[in-house]
Symmetry: C2
Subunit: 315 residues, 2 copies
């Protein structure tokens, strides 16, 4: 694997960068993409972030930091994108031509010419932080805000078990760049639209337990979304609800994407591997947080996933 130093040498010698993010963009893919984009721009390069979906409202404030003119790309980078099936829409055309992929998913599919994966990093933003340091670009308040958003969202605000001392050290450094920490955390973690409260009440009503309360499943249907007015990109934190219930080892969130198509998120305690569950359905992710897409009947989905979980938690 090439080192970040090797990569910094390559980036210095190239220009006209497109930086690709994954579909259903979260704070880490957006934060690391815009941080890198602005850093490259500060080096006098042309760089642009591409996202197949609309950027969720709460992340829009960071997208302002690296606007620029249009140009044809001559070097394609992806950040926080484990596999080309994380590309959608306008980004699909780049699936076969990614020059550099920077990621922190152990399950990275190695689809790029150069791949840098550090699975010990809690967020892709931590890697981008190190890369920007090596590139010698000064981290200004805007870059710091982007990286902080990535760091904080991928760790549930420093709560998940992926957090390391390094995560906190980087956070301290970013705060010293003058970011508006109170405002950012408020936007990311402490602002719940009223409609989301209505949806959560419906979700709690859908809650079902299995295997002596060791598994909990919640369902979010299109009908529930319509009734409450909640949009797709507001559902980010929902998947952590079932596992957060005391005693639950495997939390499953089933989201109806279209009639007959479901996105399933699996969150597990440390002694159960979420990837090993999701791989049975062609999905992937991290040891404690993984997912897959299912086409078919929801009752089949439910019984199939319960079958797999039963085996994995050795009921």
């Amino acid at each position: 694997m090439k080192s970040l130093l090797d990569i910094s040498v390559i980036l210095r010698s190239r220009d006209d960068f497109y930086i690709l993010t994954h579909k259903n963009p979260d704070g880490d893919t957006i934060g690391s993409a815009y941080a890198l984009c602005r850093a490259l721009q500060k080096m006098g390069k042309r760089a642009k972030v591409l996202c197949s979906d609309e950027i969720p409202n709460k992340y829009k404030f960071i997208a302002k930091c690296a606007e620029g003119e249009d140009f044809e790309p001559r070097f394609i980078i992806s950040v926080d994108v484990a596999s080309t099936n994380q590309f959608e829409g306008a980004l699909l055309r780049y699936s076969g031509s990614v020059d550099l992929c920077i990621d922190h998913h152990m399950t990275n599919k190695n689809y790029a010419d150069i791949t840098f994966v550090d699975a010990m990093s809690a967020s892709a933003s931590e890697i981008i932080y190190a890369l920007i340091k090596i590139l010698g670009v000064q981290i200004d308040e805007e870059i710091a805000s982007c990286l902080y958003v990535g760091l904080a969202t991928d760790t549930g605000c420093f709560k998940y078990s992926n957090v390391t001392a390094q995560t906190h050290k980087i956070a301290a450094d970013l705060i010293e760049k003058g970011i508006d920490l109170g405002k950012i955390n408020k936007i990311l973690f402490d602002t719940k639209p009223k409609r989301l409260i209505s949806l959560e009440m419906l979700i709690y009503k859908s809650l079902e337990y299995f295997f002596q309360y060791r598994c909990a499943i919640i369902v979010v249907t299109l009908d529930m979304m319509k009734k409450t007015g909640v949009s797709e990109n507001e559902l980010e934190g929902i998947a952590s609800i079932p596992r957060s219930i005391e005693g639950v080892d495997v939390g499953v969130t089933i989201r109806e994407k279209q009639s007959g198509i479901y996105r399933v998120s699996v969150r597990t305690q440390e002694d159960v591997n979420a990837v090993s569950i999701c791989e049975e359905f062609g999905g992937g992710g991290h040891a404690c947080a993984a997912g897959f897409t299912f086409e078919g009947d929801i009752d089949d989905l439910r019984s199939e996933i319960l079958g797999v979980i039963k085996e994995k938690i050795k009921v």
Copy 2:
């Protein structure tokens, strides 16, 4: 004000310490008390933590780190206790005889012989961390766990606007002492008893908005607690619910303590001062999180506090 260095000299010269915590103990008063207790014990001193209430289950794991024999105190310390009306039951007898108070509340009443207040510290545990460093005691895993609990709980896991770069630097250092971060965060922030979900649903039903949705009030009655089986010390996070709703500047949580006695928590956005609201009722706290106790009829309480809030938010 005496410096932490002065205080370290005094502690070195004394022995037989009682360390007092505040009523309704939270992670910071418990964490900083046990960290200091263990540090003093490691210096060969006798030290003991006193708490008027039972320690909440989720904090019991840290209380194990500093057990010891019984003895009569010759030096009384309080930590994270802003006022002697934070003492209750068996601790009331020490109200007039606290030798040293270490605190981070701006509203500290200066009731001790020696008072050290640093209102810039997000938690009392940050001050105790600095003090232990000055005392020259090595921070072992147990002390680090105590301090981390204090740091993390008083900042909503590094979410609140009181967090500084220093908070994260200390967290990084504590993590390097080998604490079981994943387990601790899980216990503190990601384990919700099923009964708490039932209570939250009742709470959301009680939710009322005032002043064009700028103020939200929730009520927790004794009847709701009885119905769901939730105990007093499980309510710690409840007070943050109303303010976390989008657009709400002042969130009020009314908890019925006994028939006709209510504990009111006020949480505000940065442009409204929670203390100035609660002081009208004889309470206090921090700029964005304060509280008071009210005796009387809940309808009177509601109309009185709405009157004060209306004035403060200049409707």
